[in-house]
Amino acid sequence: MQIPPIIFGTFQYGSLDELYPMVRSAYENGIAGFDTSPSYNTEEFLGSALSKLCSSAGIQRDRLLIQDKVDGWQMEESKGRIANYVKHSIAKLQSKYIDVLFIHWPFPEYLAETWQAFAELKKAGWVKKIGLSNVRHRHVENLLKETGVMPDVIQIERHPLRICKEDVEYFKKKGFIVEAYSPVCRMDERLVESEVLNKIAHKYNKTIGQVILRWHIDTGVVPVFMTKKESRVAENVNIFDFSLPIEEVEKISSLDINYKIFVESVCCPGI
């Protein structure tokens, strides 16, 4: 299963009853990729939701892409020997494998050991692709020097207020797939009130959210979005009937103020 052009995130869902309708809606709207993490407490819900979806839609598991992560406390407790945690996650997801497994935050202690464990899990077939989340190019450079193991996917917080130009260019040059979480920066008022975005949205008769998601696609990045509204799911996939010319892409990129929602060092001390 290849990485789809847009992925649905399951951060902040409190129950299967809350998640399943959204998962079903996402699938019905053409989304086949789903993202979770142990720290979201949604692995079990997602596993049950996807299992229910496969039964009701008559599809096989390999038609879906599941992304999961290894969290900092797991790296710390096991000193990087995370295989058992991953197998436990796979069981919770009611699957035999994970399509993409990320190191959620690159805690410097045990990072290399964890990454080596990732490579072994991939070799053994428990994981199809391995990735790094919340990294800069220096983290990847150092890990490559230390372990020689290449990531397949990188997932970072990225949106017009933080375009991560240098890092994204590096990742793409290396051939890594780049994904963006918080792709619309939670519709920060600086984006909602942006003249540039409002003008472009009006031109294409789209919402600002749709324009931003299209900006991700047109800059070669896969957005990972989260919503609790089914109408928003339909809206967010309605972005493949237009594209932005380079001038408009650059205008959106010029909104960059290096604003990040998730302050990296607070989430990952020593990052």
């Binding site: 805690f107 220096r138 290096n258 604003y259 060092s265 990952c268 001390p269 020593g270």
Partner: protein
């Protein structure tokens, strides 16, 4: 009979005293928790505060008036507290440096004594630390019961998993160098 009445009265006195002491302990515990929270008032909750890209971050001891002019910048984040050790300052650095602007014009100030070699953080320091770091420091339930842990020292010489005996000042310098961050020590 007199003896049993006397001992019965004595038991109630003891019980009463214990209850009073417990009540005082609960009140004092609450006051200490408030004090710790107040001491960490400058810690930003990034989920509902969009302050970022500070010109400077000042970490360590409160800066003396004579040194204040050394701190430059319009937007400054102060993470200082009386008695903060160099080790605690290192931990604050690794937790909070991402609030600094990333265009090469930001600067970290570490306010400390050159003689400070203390390898611990106090309860008032660990309040805002990441759960993984708290676990490493064995903070446990200490923040819930500060009355029992007020004088505890969190940290050891074995905190750093590389096992190397590198002075904390050097670690701070190396950390900043690797991330291309300007750092200046203000010795007090």
């Amino acid at each position: 009979m007199t003896f049993s009445i006397f001992s019965f009265g004595l038991e109630w006195n003891v019980l009463g005293s214990i209850l009073v002491i417990l009540l005082l302990a609960v009140i004092l515990n609450g006051l200490l928790r408030k004090h710790i929270s107040k001491a960490n008032a400058s810690i930003i909750n990034f989920m509902n505060d969009n302050q970022r890209n500070f010109d400077a971050i000042v970490i360590g001891q409160p800066i003396a008036p004579c040194n204040q002019r050394r701190v430059t910048g319009k937007r400054i984040l102060y993470l200082t507290h009386k008695g903060r050790t160099i080790f605690a300052s290192y931990l604050f650095l690794i937790h909070q440096y991402s609030y600094l602007r990333e265009d090469g014009n930001g600067i970290i100030y570490i306010v400390s004594s050159t003689r400070d070699k203390r390898m611990y953080a106090r309860l008032v320091d660990v309040y805002s630390f990441h759960p993984v770091i708290k676990s490493r420091l064995k903070v446990g339930w200490s923040l819930n019961y500060p009355i029992l842990s007020w004088t505890r020292k969190f940290g050891t010489r074995h905190y750093f998993i590389d096992g190397k005996d590198i002075p904390v000042r050097s670690r701070i310098e190396q950390f900043c160098r690797e991330r291309k961050i300007k750092v200046e020590f203000i010795n007090q």
